[in-house]
Symmetry: C2
Subunit: 477 residues, 2 copies
């Protein structure tokens, strides 16, 4: 059976938007994105990965992401160059769009006072630490660097940039995504023009994307958040939080997600830059206990519980506003890691670190892709005029069909005969499967018999399916 290439009704939703906004003949960037197959997004993870992970994910059929929030201009340009030259598949570059806080000397002093005992223990001089921003928000200056690359996707965390800046990103053709942690945030993002919403459940690792509230009690699990956002908005919804394997992908799609975003499962991949200390924690029982903490940046982010979180309390009010908390933590972290300790390191992790494997990111990607329904993306159209169809013909036809379906990944095989006209359609996930099947000895033999005996003539077309409609819509599975 041919699975719907847009299992969550994406085509219809997107078409609905088109009808309102522009002639339906003009495909949007989102439409174009959706022709590239399953929406499996690797979550951008600043500090733990760069273009190498993103490229490995793309090459295996996912959508890799470059976390740009902590990259200096030269590094950003270099990474964007690598990505744009390294893959023809869609990729994503992620920016933060927080408003940097006013300097607050009193709060900074209180923070340093809170950390002083740890500095003393480590023999470090707290007065030598410069107060620093750490992370800069997306800006026109950054956009100047990005524009020449016209990234297929630009995603934002902590809301969206100002309207003129957002218009610029959409103007150069990027699909725009942002994270919602509540139904209200999802509605706000839709009203402000995102192409799709990332529903970030409480299970997710790293920074909460929350931007319309700072009340942590509003943050809910993926099982509750995802279906509520799907019901509330008309744009596609991408599920994030707790998805670690193909079963998780299937569950998210069952709840109405158009795609998924997976982070933690990639943290121990070969291409990630995750530190050995962080990797060890992710693969230990310690990963069963994560907490939201503001200690490492000033905003709540989920990480494995460590000494700093235990001793200060993960939400200690002394931590100054995002992103200024980071500066005074950095020397403690560096010192601790030199001793082989993660006591002062942000050990970002979602609540489900079970997917963390030391493996090539391509393997992890392919495993996750198993969670999407098999999608027919190519069709082989065989049309023939019969000459003499004998008993051997029937047996051979049945056998070839069986072979295609059971051994070569064919997704469906339909043959219709009327008078001397025959049409056979076979559906395939990729061209490699078609080629493999065509080279099988039985297939070559049948071809020869067809030419010599059965057919007066025939034609074969291989075609890539670009759109697909159902009436009625298929049931979600």
């Amino acid at each position: 059976m041919i699975a719907d290439p847009h299992p969550s009704g994406l085509t219809l939703k997107a078409a609905g938007r088109d009808n309102a906004a522009m002639p339906s003949t003009a495909p949007t960037p989102l439409h174009t994105l959706l022709t590239h197959g399953p929406l499996l997004l690797q979550a951008p993870m600043a500090g733990s990965q760069g273009s190498a992970l993103a490229l490995a994910v793309c090459q295996a059929g996912g959508i890799g992401a470059l976390p740009a929030a902590m990259l200096a201009p030269e590094a950003l340009t270099q990474e964007l160059t690598r990505l744009s030259q390294g893959t023809n598949r869609p990729w994503n570059v992620n920016f933060f769009c927080h408003t940097p806080p006013e300097p607050d000397a009193a709060r900074e002093a209180r923070w340093r006072e809170t950390l002083a005992p740890f500095y003393a223990e480590a023999g470090l001089d707290i007065d030598a630490v410069p107060a620093g921003a750490g992370r800069v928000p997306f800006s026109h200056t950054v956009a100047d660097l990005v524009e020449p690359f016209r990234p297929p996707i630009v995603s934002f965390h902590f809301g969206l940039p100002a309207p003129d800046l957002l218009a610029r990103v959409k103007g150069w053709g990027s699909v725009v995504l942002s994270s919602a942690t509540t139904v209200e945030e999802a509605l706000w993002l839709e009203a402000h023009g995102v192409d799709a919403v990332i529903a970030q459940g409480i299970e997710a690792g790293g920074h909460r994307g929350m931007f319309r509230t700072d009340d942590l009690t509003t943050q809910v699990g993926t099982f509750a958040l995802l279906p509520q956002i799907v019901a509330a908005v008309n744009v596609p919804v991408i599920a994030a939080g707790g998805i670690a394997d193909a079963a998780g992908v299937r569950a998210a799609l069952a709840l109405g997600a158009a795609g998924v975003q997976v982070g933690t499962a990639y943290l121990c991949s070969d291409e990630a830059l995750t530190s050995p200390i962080h990797r060890a924690a992710l693969q230990s029982e310690a990963a069963r206990h994560t907490q939201l903490t503001t200690l490492f940046s000033g905003r709540p982010a989920r990480g494995i519980v460590n000494r700093l979180m235990r001793e200060l309390g993960p939400l200690n009010p002394a931590a100054p506003a995002f992103p200024t908390a980071t500066a005074a933590i950095a020397p403690l972290r560096a010192h601790g890691e030199k001793q082989g300790s993660g006591d002062f390191s942000p050990l970002w992790s979602g609540q489900n670190a079970r997917g963390c494997r030391s493996a090539p990111a391509a393997d992890i990607t392919r495993e996750l892709l198993q969670g999407f329904p098999a999608v027919a993306r190519h069709v082989v159209i065989f049309r023939a005029t019969a000459r003499a169809l004998d008993a051997e013909y029937s047996a051979t036809a049945a056998q070839l069909r069986e072979l295609a379906l059971t051994r070569f990944g064919c997704l469906d095989f339909v043959a219709v005969t009327e008078g001397d006209q025959e049409v056979a359609l076979s559906y395939w996930p990729d061209e490699a499967s078609i080629r493999a099947w065509k080279q099988h000895a039985d297939h070559l033999m049948a071809q020869q018999l067809g030419r010599e005996r059965w057919y007066a003539g025939y034609s074969v077309e291989v075609a890539a399916i670009t759109r697909h409609y159902h009436r009625p819509a298929p049931a979600q599975a």
Copy 2:
């Protein structure tokens, strides 16, 4: 295609347990339970429902539950009588198994001091309130009442009763369930003999089942908890928390659940005893914001945020140990509700109240059952010796097969012929579908032709499928 009646490999897991413990010919209570179809459990909700809801759920094909923790002995006997006489399907009776706290006059005084301003505002006399326990744990005295009814399922919250008491429950043949909120609790429950674990994600409404920790930061979302527990234990796992509709059921099964437990979606059903104030809150936007609170009982439970939670803080340390907090809240609650206010009422709700409908519980149950794969529970075995199979035979056979599959709910139809021997197997979800199909005019006509013309003889058996194995196991869907 015939769906596996035990989509999560339940049969194999249960058989594994058998092999270790007893001859595999003796079906366990769990085995027997599993022949009754999908494990759709209605969550016991003390104070919001009794046997009427449980019976309605059972009659529609789910597994209803009686919350017994707040029932006096006479009421418990009455409710158990109603349940056992009202249905032949499995049902569940739920008990708490906390250890009642020592009386603590100082803490009670502090609690009353905290509540005094609310009493003053309401014109109520706090000194007239008796300190009371409110909820009693399961005991041999309670077991004496329950034993004559031999409930098909007994479920516990807050762990398990003492070993001798648990042995007594298992001894009279009940399937025993209990809730786990962490992997560690699930392992503990398995080691102590539960037949299946209920994995209670953070989304769930009402009391957290937590019993091996009181650290709320250990509590995680269903997307993270469920697959981790499924991987950790060898007993079936029932998912709870955030499941509100058939899509939620499909998602839970995709994550490896053997069944689901659904509470909040039943709170507005016709048969629930939920107050009008509580119903109104569940169906309003207020239900988007729930919190874990200890104010109403002393243990963390999830409810919609109301005045008491806002003004005291939902986890105010003044609330005394479970279940003693309840006594001093009760008069405020009663007074408030008389004024039409839920300011002092526990408005229990999960994080996903989207499923709350004012509808018969049977409708809600049938909607949820759609989330389980269609299961072949009956097979019709037709065996015949052919006499004269003509062209009309082939056409009729094909047409009847088509009719069964497309119009009468037949799940699979397989016919095999060798020489003059024919065997046809058709698979059906229920006997009613079989009867309807057999009474169709085309079927009756074929029967007549079969007797008169095609067959020397034939036999038909209708059989109920009680077990079903796959090799290899089917992919989880």
